[in-house]
Subunit: 217 residues, 2 copies
DNA sequence: CAATTTAAATGAACATCATTTAACAAAACA
DNA sequence: TGTTTTGTTAAATGATGTTCATTTAAATTG
């Protein structure tokens, strides 16, 4: 049969990714299968393997897109705040909101990591690093302690927020659990900031107002 | 064929669990299969279904045992410390050590949660709660802030440590990464404790004990 | 001790899965 | 026109979880 030229290779690629994301979003990762994706876009299994080396490649592409969306949401969240402290709270909230809105795809980021493909691994690391940078920038703006301490702080805080999301969104979250996660997040951040000696109150006193931070990208 | 009485039902159960754990420990969860477990204990596939309703039940039994082992390790760690602050550090370290020593089984706890079985879900929750309690006890000993605050603190801290483990032990960890995780953990805990006004150093010095910050929103 | 019941264990069958392969059709190019 | 390249399919392969009719041996009964 082999009708041809209906869609370009990259069109099929895009259709497949969107179809797969739809399946994952509604039924979860376990419900994903090559056959299901193929039939959803009106093709057969083999065609998928013409576009993707294997299912893992498709999964990694989806993870890449999810990480990009997450990053975009975090950047977006930064537009509503000025003080570094506020920005850190905003980043935490935006992260939790994203995780609650897309629980399955969010879980995939951590659970379905690239098998051994070096290219995918590198892209992964880079996209993850970008997330850390967002908090690093805010911590640098607070300018407390030595430079290297900032790297540690950023990772500690970010890991903490990730852990909160992981605990509360183990399964599909209800609204109450989502609020609970936000509460934990604010709690953790505030205590951490006070521990750094940069709590909101302190900073208003000492931090120069109007200091503008430029975000990457 | 069908010779009988070689092993009791509970013996087979135990053998299967141990064989499955060995497979997971060395090859990871994805390498687990009913046939592999069966042949490892000298039986055939069908026999497994005589003991377990399905593979998920076997997985949940393993998770239960892992949670018990983790709990035992944490209790063990508490015997080396006296001050609540020290105990919290010790709990964090012990958790990270366990996660690094059994990365596959540790991941399973979070990734392979019970499908829908109500019994399994309840047991799960209970075993998880037990872990929280260990930190709650220490925080109560510090006796800072209202009672309800302790619940939040325990979960925030514990989630933070879990997040650190999750970030650093995404795959099989090398020794350097494990040390990095411990550093992050100590960092997070110490800042958090200072933020509570209960750190060893600072509480003596300046911070008024019990000062509570209100968070934005 | 022989007959019968019952529990234990098997291995084949089923449906589904990811992945590979060979065949084939249509477009592109000569 | 014929040849090559490219897109597409159907079928084949081998592994998976799960079910089930059947067989085997121990336990129980008469």
């Amino acid at each position: 049969m082999g009708r041809r030229g209906e869609h370009s290779k990259s069109e099929i690629e895009c259709m497949a990714l969107e179809a797969a994301e739809a399946i994952i979003e509604s039924e979860g990762y376990d419900a994903l299968s090559a056959r299901k994706v193929a039939s959803a876009i009106g093709y057969t299994v083999g065609s998928l393997y013409f576009v993707f080396r294997n299912l893992d490649e498709l999964v990694q592409r989806i993870n890449g897109r999810t990480l990009d969306q997450l990053y975009a949401n975090l950047i977006e969240a930064l537009s509503d705040c000025r003080l570094p402290q506020q920005c850190i709270y905003a980043l935490g909230s935006a992260y939790l909101e994203f995780a609650a809105r897309h629980p399955h795809r969010w879980r995939m980021i951590y659970e379905q990591q690239p098998r051994d493909d070096n290219l995918s691994v590198d892209i992964y690391r880079e996209k993850m690093e970008r997330l850390y940078e967002l908090i690093e920038i805010q911590l640098k703006a607070l300018a407390v302690g030595p430079e290297e301490e900032v790297l540690v702080s950023a990772r500690a805080l970010w890991s903490g927020i990730q852990g909160i999301a992981s605990m509360n969104l183990g399964r599909i979250p209800n609204h109450e659990e989502a609020q609970w996660a936000h509460k934990l997040s604010r709690h953790l951040i505030s205590h951490y900031l006070v521990g750094m000696g940069t709590s909101e109150f302190k900073s208003v006193a000492s931090q120069p107002v109007g200091q503008v931070i430029d975000y990457p990208k």
